[in-house]
Symmetry: C2
Subunit: 271 residues, 2 copies
């Protein structure tokens, strides 16, 4: 049976609320995800929160009841609380029906099966959590094998990144690594490293993307370092006709990824 907490001063509420803070999240190695859609998607991929907060008015929703049963069956705890407290946990005025506390999880390079997909996304020093989440969401949509984060990237478990991923955080593998280990791993097997660059005239539609293609997107403000660009098998540019000289990083990644997907026949993911 779920226990009930209605006081914002409750230490467990405060502890969960603090997971919005990066330092606290890093120590706890846990993170917050919110919303029935995302938590149900997580459950379908086999991930359940160790703590599940749900609002009393939502207690009779079938999906909430399923989540509560699943969390309790797995040894986690379900806690009934108020919409107001849920709102404070999620930091949004219109609180979601549920907020979950999940254990962090990432994959390792060694754990990736590069034959599992024709498209892999690689981002280096990505700074914006919304961009990271959006890239995950795009990765899910194109059937990417995973997202490889190189160097000092924003935390994929931040509330903003989880929210922007719309659940894709749970559906595609995420690896956090550095440039040299990534490059070493990449060169141990087949794979074309394609860098998005402003310093080339080679149009992205003119290239051929064999499977597996690793799409490298650089830092939002600076792009990628020149030695990273030099290590790419191919540098391509997305044409820009306007006054500005760049696209949003998540947009550029998506435009590229859909070109690769189209060339690879639209169905790169193994069943």
């Amino acid at each position: 049976m779920p226990r009930e907490i209605t006081a914002y001063s409750n230490p467990l509420i405060k502890w969960a609320r603090d997971l919005r803070d990066k330092r606290h999240r890093r120590e706890a190695r846990q993170f917050l995800a919110e919303g029935l859609r995302i938590l149900t998607e997580a459950r379908e991929t086999g991930r359940l929160p160790s703590l599940l907060f749900f609002a009393k008015p939502s207690a009779h929703h079938p999906l909430v009841q399923e989540l509560v049963r699943a969390v309790e069956a797995a040894g986690g705890e379900a806690i009934e609380t108020t919409p107001d407290i849920l709102s404070k946990l999620s930091g949004k005025d219109n609180p979601q029906a549920v907020v979950g506390v999940f254990d962090e999880f990432t994959s390792t390079l060694a754990g990736l099966d590069r034959s599992s997909s024709g498209i892999w996304l690689v981002a280096e020093r990505l700074r914006d959590p919304g961009n990271l989440g959006t890239i995950l969401r795009t990765g899910d949509a194109v059937g990417a094998g995973g997202l490889i984060l190189v160097g000092e990237c924003v935390d994929p478990f931040s509330v903003e990144a989880v929210r922007a991923s719309m659940g894709a955080l749970f559906t595609i593998p995420i690896v956090r690594t550095e440039w040299q280990p990534f490059l070493n791993w990449l060169r141990e097997g087949p794979g074309q490293l394609v860098g998005l660059s402003l310093d080339t005239d080679f149009d992205y539609r003119g290239a051929r993307y064999a499977a597996p293609t690793f799409l490298l997107t650089g830092n939002e403000a600076q792009g990628m370092p020149s030695d990273y660009a030099a290590a790419c098998d191919l540098l391509v540019k997305i044409p820009m006709l306007g006054k500005a000289d760049s696209l949003n990083a998540a947009v550029a990644t998506a435009v590229m990824a859909y070109e690769v997907l189209a060339q690879q026949g639209g169905t790169t993911r193994k069943a």
Copy 2:
């Protein structure tokens, strides 16, 4: 000569700071834009702030000096202030060198020249300011003729939208209108209305996009109403192979817009 304000309690600072608030912005019909890059881009398109705040440490930057001269020559006021006050104006910890207060401006349907571009972006009930700004940025990159906002959309002059647009707010026409006036205007001349939809199996790469193509993107959560979809000349779908059933609205718009651009030869904008 710029005057100097160093007190946060100064009424002008407070007034400008309040432009971050929607209601105050609507009354004043003015908005904030920040950063040397964006303000310089605005100047190049002929738009100058009526008020320009710059931080004392940046006073000797040539681009800041050019902006100050241009603003004063145009009858506006330049105000030297502290990095701390600039930070409070912009709401960011790392303040930009400059923050400007601009008069709002929008275009009207009647003022658009549909022969000026092969691509037009149309968004209905767009809710997220980051998405709106990112769509503007993409619009600039593909040489779109303009962005037409249909129905109750988020304010394109919000600080978040202006920031995400990276200056594209100043480079492409924005029209705010309702569905029926838009449709009436559209049907007065040539133009194909293409709707992004999940309720079709027609792959976006299989369609032909004649100039001018009007790309319609629906609300982030609900998509577009069925009667809007019925009014489209064509509904297309971007394939999604993953567990989720949707893309970020700005991402979907960009993937579509770049397909249209590629089909139209990559150079749709008149010189």
